[in-house]
């Protein structure tokens, strides 16, 4: 593995849910890569497949869902070719995940120290319980939990939501992973805590070289955090690129819609833009471009499903009517 091998490279990932009513293509040909110390924002509405993408990487998609195609290269190894034990060794060790709802991620009947120590010892049984406890205490301290010694002996219900999410983050950090997948970890928290956690996450990546995938529907969060951004719609990536490029020159009508609906300084007194309609059911996607029924620029050309194009280096786009002349902007 050379230094420029990305920590994670996802190619044409396909995860389908085989339901009674048909096959729902929750993730349909998603590709992206994240390098060392890099932060990628994965943005989309509810049901766009962003969380399923995260779970697919870890092999944690529950039936009737199944990863049916593509590659997930983690430091050069294809995770989809690993058996259960091989995946288990990576989970919580090299690749950690943080979930959305801190009230639900910790087991209510086990003490915090139990839940932390088992994470250390699942990957290295030679570590003694005392040593694992010391590491757990340090991890709690690292995420800013006061008197970690005392808190280790507490049960999850004795923590507030923000504190629980810190514990979950501390658990994710325990084995110093190379990649963290964070699935809307700040959505359930209030804004001040959210700010602290974002700051700490960013610092961690810069300091330790951990790659981070931050899944969210909140563009404001991504704007202050990520290096690059992938926008998902109905299981597909519709626009991808460096953060500033995409936010400054959004080319896909959907990205423009998302950006237009974020309140800003100069939108005061004006109605915020609203994307008409709602996310289509994955079982009844319109033919052609999945977004065409909600898109103000749709025409005959959108009846055929648009392919991914790469108008300039580092940008990807799935639209036949780009709203910006990307080549022109670049030059």
């Amino acid at each position: 593995m050379t230094d420029d091998t990305p920590t994670l490279q996802v190619e044409n990932l396909e995860t389908h849910f085989f339901t009674k009513d048909g096959v729902a293509k929750a993730v349909d040909g998603v590709s992206f890569s994240v390098g060392r110390g890099e932060i990628m924002g994965l943005v989309g509405e509810s049901g766009s497949g962003k969380s399923v993408t995260g779970f697919s990487i870890l092999g944690l998609v529950d039936p009737p869902g199944k990863v049916v195609g593509g590659k997930v290269l983690f430091q050069g190894t294809d995770l989809l070719s690993l058996d259960d034990e091989g995946l288990r060794r990576l989970r919580g060790n090299r690749i950690a995940m943080i979930f959305q709802d801190p009230m639900m991620t910790l087991n209510p009947v086990l003490r915090v120290d139990t839940q932390m120590i088992e994470t250390v010892r699942a990957h290295d049984p030679s570590v003694s319980v005392d040593e694992a406890r010391a590491r757990s205490r340090d991890a709690l301290g690292q995420v800013g939990i006061p008197s970690p010694d005392e808190r280790l002996r507490a049960y999850p219900h004795q923590f507030s939501g923000g504190m629980r999410q810190r514990v979950a983050i501390a658990i994710a950090l325990l084995n110093k992973p190379d990649l963290i997948i964070a699935d809307e970890p700040t959505t359930a928290l209030d804004v001040t805590i959210q700010g602290q956690i974002l700051y700490e996450a960013q610092k961690l990546c810069r300091d330790t070289g951990t790659a981070l995938i931050w899944i969210t529907h909140d563009l404001a969060v991504i704007a202050g955090l990520a290096d690059k951004i992938s926008v998902m719609y109905a299981g597909r990536i519709v626009e991808q690129g460096a953060l500033d490029e995409v936010l400054d020159h959004p080319a896909h009508p959907y990205t423009r819609g998302l950006l237009g609906s974020v309140p800003g300084h100069n939108t005061r007194g004006k109605r915020l833009y609203q994307i008409p309609g709602m996310t289509p059911s994955l079982l009844k996607l319109p033919k052609g471009c999945a977004f065409k029924d909600r898109c103000p620029h749709a025409d005959q050309a959108c009846e055929d499903a648009p392919e991914i194009t790469r108008p300039v280096e580092g940008r990807a786009l799935r639209c036949v009517h780009p709203q910006v002349d990307l080549a022109g902007v670049a030059s």
């Binding site: 870890l58 944690l60 529950d62 259960d84 288990r88 060794r89 990576l90 989970r91 919580g92 060790n93 950690a96 995940m97 979930f99 709802d101 639900m104 991620t105 910790l106 087991n107 209510p108 009947v109 086990l110 088992e118 994470t119 699942a122 990957h123 049960y155 219900h157 004795q158 979950a168 658990i171």
Partner: protein, 325 residues
Amino acid sequence: MTVFIIRRLLQSIAVVLVMSFIVFVGVNIVGDPVEMMVSDEADQAEREKVIKSMGLDKPWYIQYARFIGGALQGDLGKSFVYGEPALQIIAHRIPATFELALAALVMAVVVGIPLGVYAGLRPDTVGSKTIMAGSILGFSLPTFWVGLMFIMVFAVILGWLPSTGRGDTVELLGIDVSFLTMDGLAHLFLPAFNLALFKISMVIRLTRAGTREVVHQDYIKFARAKGLSNRRVVLVHLMKNIMIPVVTVLGLEFGGLIAFSVVTETVFAWPGMGKLIIDSIQSLDRPVIVAYLMIIVLIFVIINLVVDIFYSLLDPRVRLSEIKS
């Protein structure tokens, strides 16, 4: 924790007192034991003597006060039929029933929980569908019929297991037990399994429902995302969460096992309390009936208490809310 236990203890005593009143009054308005005790040729004077000797000439509240006074000293009256202390007659039969119920409980746990967890984890396999269909049979087939079928198949046709009695017993801490000898174990198996069948089905259904609910919780997914082995996820993270309803119901059902092992004891001629109470009801042996019911009440109350304490050990949230309130 101590406050919690003391409060529960006081509540238990109140329940026992109320129950003693209901039981005593209830039993005393049914039938006339004098008719059963005195021969038809007895004259009025003899009848009066018997009534007096049994203390039935006094008003009911005096009888009740005497009964409570005696009960506090461990005296629940003398059997009208046997002339021995009722408590002693019952105590003599308790170990057999207890052993049977305990064996049935162990079977329910050992067989029911693994099958239930399996059926919950893999709901669509043929195996778990078979388990669930089997549990419906376990629920709906009448105990006495299943017992008779067991005797027919395993004792009469196959001749593998004995069908009646306790077999060889050995003394353990002054109590006769069957399960420590091979012969006793063979005698214990069929009646215990017969008694356990219903509970096994119940534990399977309860465990399966719990598993189906818990397995989709985020904390199970998170445990897997931490890289824990499947074994640890199921045995620790899942099991500890589904044990709360299982422990509650099993605890209460243990009382039921003891109280209503009547059918199984009759079918397999198991010398326990169940047969005794049937006989006593038929001969209107009030002290034995009352003593039996009081013991059952006591058993239920103690089990409830133990379950509550277990509960708080299993679920820290129960502990906390109890202390707060």
